[in-house]
Symmetry: C2
Subunit: 232 residues, 2 copies
C-alpha cells in the first residue's frame, strides 16, 4: 500500500489539476488500485501571498493540518511562490516535499554537469527570490526577466488563471523564455506552475527543468517508496 | 463565498481529474478566487463495487465523513457504478448530488421533447441497472449493449484505467455507441465516467448526455447557488 499524498492546492486551480494528472502519468499502474491515494484541499481563496503573507501562512497551515486529519502522510504544494510561507505547512508535522529545493537540485544536476551555471528562471517575483537563493546555495546563478518582460510574465500567469491558454499566450511565454536566453541563461527553470500550461520542453532550445514535473516525480517516489525510480 | 465541494474520487483516478477540469471550465472565473474550493479524497483502493459491495459502501461512507470533517458542504462522486452504494455516503448527512438521477433527468429532458423514448446507455453492468431503473421511472426505456459488446465495453473501460486513451480505444467506443443506435437507441447516455475520455459528443450522430458533464454542471450550480446558470 502506497503512502497517502496530501495536496495543498488551488494556487492556481488549473495548475493543481495539471499536477494531479502528472502524478498519475508518472505512477506505474495496471489499474485503479495501483494509483496513489490523494487527499486534496484545492483552495482558490488563500490570501495573496505577495500582499498578505502572514495571513497566507496561517491559512496554508490550517490546510496542512486538515489534510493530516484527512489521512495525508506526505504533503506537497504545487505552487512555487507560496513556498515562502512553507513554515505554516511544516508546523503540521508531516514530511513536506520542498518544490523549490527539488527543482533547484534537478536543474543544477542537469546543467552543471554540462557546464551551465547561469540558469534562467520563469517565476513570479516571490518565486524568483526563492530560486535566486536556492541556486546560489548550489553554486549557480539565476538569470531573471527585466523591465517590461516581468510585467508581461505576470500578465501571462494571470491569463492562465482566467483560462487563457491559447496560441498567443503560448507565443508570449516562448518569447519570454528566449529573452532569458538572450540575457545569458544556459538553461531554464519553469518556476511557476502556470508556466508548463503555456510552455513545453520542445518549445525552447535550452534544457528546461519544470518545477511541476519535478514535484510530481518526487511525490510518486515518496509515496511509492522507490517504485517510481523505474518510471521513465 | 461559494460552498465547498467534497469530491469522493478515484473510481477511476483519470476520470476524477477530468471531472475537476470540467468543474473549473464550467465556473465563471476572472481569477483564482472565483473558483470553487474543492476538498477531495481520490481513493483508488475502494473495494470492488461489484464483488464487495458492502465493504465498498462502508469505505465510501468513511470517505464522505472525512470530507465533511475537512469542510465539504456538498458531496459528489464522479463514478456512476458506485452510486449503488450511495447510502453510505448519504449517512454523512451532507447534500449528495445524485449523478444517476441528474443524468437521467437531463437525458429525458433533452430527448423526450424531441420524441426519443429509447435511450442507449454506455455503462458497467452496475451502472446499467441504475440507469434502467432511473429511465423507467421517467417513462423512457434503456437500450443496453448485448453479448460480446458488453465485454468489449468493459475492456475499453479497464483500458482507460491502465492509461489507454489512444485512437483504437476511441474507435472501439464509437463502434459500441453505433451498436446501441443499431439496437434502436434514439439518444445516448455516457453513463460511466471513463466513457467521455474516449467519446465526445461530435463522435456520434445521436444526442449524447454525458454523466460527468451533467454532474460537473450540477456541482457548480449547487456551490455557486445559481451563478452557473449563465454559463454556456
Amino acid at each position: 500500500m502506497s503512502r497517502v499524498l496530501g495536496v495543498i492546492g488551488g494556487m492556481g486551480p488549473a495548475a493543481t489539476v495539471a499536477f494531479l494528472q502528472r502524478v498519475q502519468a508518472l505512477t506505474p499502474a495496471g489499474g485503479d488500485a495501483d494509483h496513489i491515494r490523494v487527499v486534496m484541499d484545492l483552495n482558490p481563496q488563500v490570501p495573496d501571498r505577495n500582499t498578505r503573507p502572514g495571513e497566507a501562512e496561517a491559512v496554508l497551515g490550517e490546510m496542512a493540518s486538515g489534510l493530516k486529519t484527512a489521512g495525508a502522510q506526505v504533503l506537497a504544494m504545487p505552487c512555487n511562490t507560496a513556498h515562502a510561507q512553507g513554515a505554516g505547512i511544516r508546523a503540521a508535522g508531516l514530511p513536506f516535499i520542498d518544490m523549490i529545493a527539488a527543482t533547484a537540485d534537478a536543474a543544477v544536476d542537469a546543467t552543471i554537469g554540462g557546464g551551465a551555471r547561469r540558469i534562467g528562471v520563469l517565476a513570479t517575483p516571490g518565486g524568483e527570490a526563492l530560486y535566486q537563493a536556492a541556486l546560489a546555495e548550489r553554486g549557480a546563478e539565476a538569470v531573471l526577466l527585466a523591465g517590461e518582460d516581468r510585467a508581461a510574465f505576470m500578465a501571462a500567469v494571470y491569463g492562465v488563471k482566467r483560462g487563457d491558454r491559447g496560441p498567443e499566450a503560448r507565443a508570449e511565454m516562448r518569447r519570454l523564455a528566449r529573452a532569458l536566453a538572450a540575457a545569458g541563461a544556459e538553461a531554464l527553470i519553469a518556476g511557476c506552475t502556470e508556466v508548463p500550461l503555456l510552455l513545453a520542453a520542445g518549445d525552447v532550445d535550452l534544457p528546461l527543468t519544470d518545477s511541476a514535473e519535478v514535484l510530481a516525480r518526487a511525490c510518486v517516489e515518496a509515496c511509492l517508496e522507490g517504485a517510481a525510480s523505474s518510471v521513465g
